[in-house]
């Protein structure tokens, strides 16, 4: 049965690569990027372990922490940032004559048939090399560790999906994920400050995580290899048994959760509020405003779009907070009166998955939208207005927060024209990318986070390229503003205001003109790309 699941996943992956243009391009990119990432991480890992060769105790604890971090990143990253891979949908397999144990075992094995598996395989090979004295334990403990990654990841993803099926799920999931993001930041801060204060070796010894291995599944698997390399056969076997028991427990939980999800329908939407009872006939009316209002509703109602808007801003907020606190060491904002002007940089990070994929979020409803008599320019403008509102609010809120924190208010007003230039730059790039390379988003089924690695990699590549393009476009207005607020205020402020606004508007208008014509010609192609089949 497990073989059948693995073969099914392999066949689906191969068929996807063969028949889907996105995957045909994305698959080799995914393999290259993931291999590069795995080799880079392995190099870092080897470099750090070489510093601890003389102290086996510190090395053991460090390796325990590495196992824990890898587990946490692997489990949470698909939900927080972007999915590592597309898993088989349990819903489609639920009518087969197999037991739930077979289902869970098969899904676990099948999830490893994916390009992303390259990373743990390469890292665990290096890990085994570092602890080569315990060679006899490397393979069994690594297999258990891989099982923990697979089961843990799908259990977490299924848990979030299960929460989203409840009436209040979108709010709960958003707060949960924001909590995880915030926790990640503070863990990073804590580790960074401990290492800088105590040094690498002492820091590892000050947090003896191997002592807690029985309670932390991935650390138990890692300790099994560490003990084996130290020659403690009995303790190695105990740790392997503990990790295996944990794997069984997590698999049991996942099985129970799947059983519930497959037999319980999602809760219906909330009872109607006043706004819903009135439809959309109250408020701004007309093709463009109504389309913008539809988009704004989806920013709130679509869990993934809501996460884009709320999650990313928290990340950036934390990064800015770290900068203000001097944690990142990039530059210290605390003593600069232009600190609030950093806020428009937010547009480089926030909303990109939406601004660069305006039609992808339509999914199959694109065919509904495209038979309505709206001109391509109207479609783009309606969606652009919604993105602009989101970006404008978030940038202004951040600017006010920075002013409040630093106490500098002199240049806060300058944020408004700078935000116009920044939004114009993002929309200029976003409209072109949305029309030329729309990205297909996965069907919302049992796992709302399901997306193939190849598509994820394409999305990341597209975002990185666009990120630099938007950054380059922002150089002229940013330079003018810098010359206004610093360097002896060489440029009058009125000029910076006029230049920034005109720059943003003209850039946007040119992009809208070109993208509208492209969309008119490519409408069937855009629809075909974004539709989920």
């Amino acid at each position: 049965m497990v073989r059948l699941f693995v073969e099914l996943k392999a066949r689906l992956t191969w068929n996807g690569v063969r028949n889907d243009v996105q995957r045909r391009f994305g698959f080799p990119i995914a393999i290259l990027l993931l291999t590069w990432l795995a080799v880079w991480l392995a190099g870092k890992h080897l470099d750090l372990t070489s510093h601890l060769e003389s102290n086996s105790e510190a090395l053991g604890h460090y390796l325990g922490w590495v196992a824990l971090f890898m587990f946490l990143v692997w489990v949470t990253l698909p939900v927080i940032i972007f999915p590592l891979d597309e898993n088989l949908d349990p819903q489609q397999l639920s009518t087969l004559p197999i037991s739930s144990t077979q289902l869970v075992t098969g899904l676990t094995a099948a999830s490893l048939v994916a390009p992303a598996t390259l990373i743990p395989v390469i890292l665990m090979s290096v890990n085994g090399w570092v602890l080569i004295e315990g060679w006899w334990m490397v393979v069994p403990a690594s297999v258990v560790f891989m099982g923990l990654l697979s089961v843990g990841s799908q259990l977490f993803s299924a848990s979030i999906s299960a929460i989203l099926r409840t009436r209040r799920g979108r709010d709960i999931a958003t707060f949960l994920i924001l909590g995880l993001a915030a926790a990640s930041f503070f863990i990073y801060r804590s580790v960074a400050s401990t290492v800088s204060q105590l040094g690498f070796e002492e820091a590892a010894l000050s947090a003896p995580i191997l002592d807690w291995a029985l309670l932390i599944p991935p650390v138990a698997a890692q300790r099994a290899i560490v003990e084996a390399s130290d020659g403690n056969v009995a303790m190695a076997l105990v740790m392997l048994a503990a990790a295996t028991l944990w794997l069984g427990a997590l698999a049991w939980l996942w099985r129970a959760l799947l059983g519930w999800m497959l037999t319980t329908p999602p809760e219906g939407s909330r009872p109607a509020g006043r706004a819903r009872r009135n439809g959309m006939a109250t408020g701004a009316w007309g093709v463009i405003p109504t389309l913008a209002r539809k988009e704004l509703r989806f920013y709130v109602r679509d869990p993934r779009q809501r996460l884009v808007w709320t999650g990313t801003v928290i990340f950036v907020g934390l990064a800015v907070a770290g900068t203000i606190m001097g944690a990142t060491g990039v530059f210290d904002l605390r003593d600069n009166e232009w600190a609030p002007l950093v806020a428009p940089i937010l547009v480089l990070f926030v909303g990109l998955p939406i601004a660069l994929n305006l039609f992808g979020w339509e999914r199959n409803a694109a065919s509904y939208l495209f038979v309505l008599p709206a001109k391509p320019s109207q479609l783009l403008m309606g969606k652009n207005i919604a993105v602009s509102i989101g970006l404008f609010i978030e940038s202004i809120v951040l600017a006010l927060a920075l002013s409040l924190f630093t106490g500098f208010w002199q240049w806060t007003w300058m944020v408004v024209p700078l935000v116009v230039a920044a939004i114009g730059s993002q929309l200029a790039v976003g409209n072109m990318v949305s029309v030329l390379t729309p990205l297909r988003l996965p069907r919302e089924g049992t796992d709302v986070f399901a997306q193939s690695t190849e598509q994820g990699c394409l999305a990341i590549v597209m975002q990185v390229v666009s990120f630099f393009a938007i950054g380059l476009l922002l150089v002229p207005p940013a330079s003018v503003v810098v010359l206004t607020v610093d360097f002896g205020q060489a440029v009058p402020s009125w000029f910076a205001v006029v230049f920034s606004i005109l720059y943003g508007v003209i850039l946007y208008a040119v992009s809208l003109f070109v993208a509208s014509r492209l969309l008119k010609r490519r409408l069937p192609e855009v629809m075909a790309w974004v539709q989920v089949v």
């Binding site: 819903r276 439809g279 009316w285 093709v287 109504t290 539809k294 038979v371």
Partner: protein, 239 residues
């Protein structure tokens, strides 16, 4: 792969035209091409004097489309979808609100109008999609499988609405596998086989042509479906 090939189809104003064919015959592709969702490799399509590909907005403002799949906005309520569609078609706010309320009541969706479409049953989705297709009173209606998956009451409701539209001068083009409804409603029938339009006739003319006494038998004969046998193994004696 060619989905539709060499189709020469003219539908006159006020006609109730049934596009029939087996699964995969090219009915949906034909409708999608006419409404501007698929670009033909060759030839032209249009509504009235307007060509779909050179004047897409003019064409789309004159048509209402009920898609085969339920490609609606699942996170809009039924009322919001109707308002949204009305706004996109340029109706005034008051007119939109008035028609929306009337449609929701007619379609028996008044209480469901404030629920998200994602929570609707198949029949409810079909009804709200039909409401959205007709809210701007289009002169031409394209309906892909309007009776598929709906209960008898809803089917009767949809049928009455379509008949009312046709009586009012609306041209209706629809694909369906419900042959008794095709026989009752259509003034003309087009049969597609493997991407080609092979027969165009009135229901009575089709029966005469095939020597059958009802449209269902006539259709099956026309597409060669009467030669289908069962399996060699799936019968009671082999179990």
């Amino acid at each position: 792969m060619t989905a539709v090939d060499d189709v020469d189809l003219t539908i006159l104003p006020g006609e109730f035209y049934g596009l029939l064919g087996q699964n995969g015959a090219g009915k949906t592709t034909t409708i999608k091409t006419i409404v501007g969702l698929l670009r033909p490799d060759a030839g032209s399509v249009g509504i009235g004097e307007w060509d779909t590909w050179t004047h897409p907005t003019e064409v789309k403002s004159r048509i209402g489309v009920l898609p085969e799949e339920f490609n609606l906005y699942e996170r809009l309520t039924g009322a919001e979808l109707l308002d949204f569609t009305a706004a996109m078609h340029g109706l005034s706010r008051d007119e939109a609100a008035s028609r929306r309320d009337e449609l929701l009541e007619l379609l028996d969706l008044t209480s469901a109008g404030s629920k998200l479409i994602g929570d609707y049953s198949r029949g409810m989705r079909k009804k709200v999609a039909l409401g959205a297709a007709i809210i701007h009173r289009p002169p031409v209606l394209f309906l892909d499988e309007p009776f598929e998956g709906v209960d008898a009451v809803s089917a009767r409701l949809i049928r009455n609405l379509l008949q009312q539209a046709a009586t009012g001068g609306t041209t209706v083009v629809f694909s369906s596998h419900e042959m008794h409804l095709v026989e009752k409603l259509c003034t003309r029938i087009g049969i597609m086989v493997e991407g080609k339009l092979t027969i165009e006739e009135t229901p009575a003319g089709l029966c005469t042509l095939t020597g059958k006494d009802n449209v269902e038998d006539a259709f099956i004969a026309a597409v060669g479906g009467d030669k289908v046998d069962g399996t060699s193994w799936y019968d009671s004696s082999s179990s």
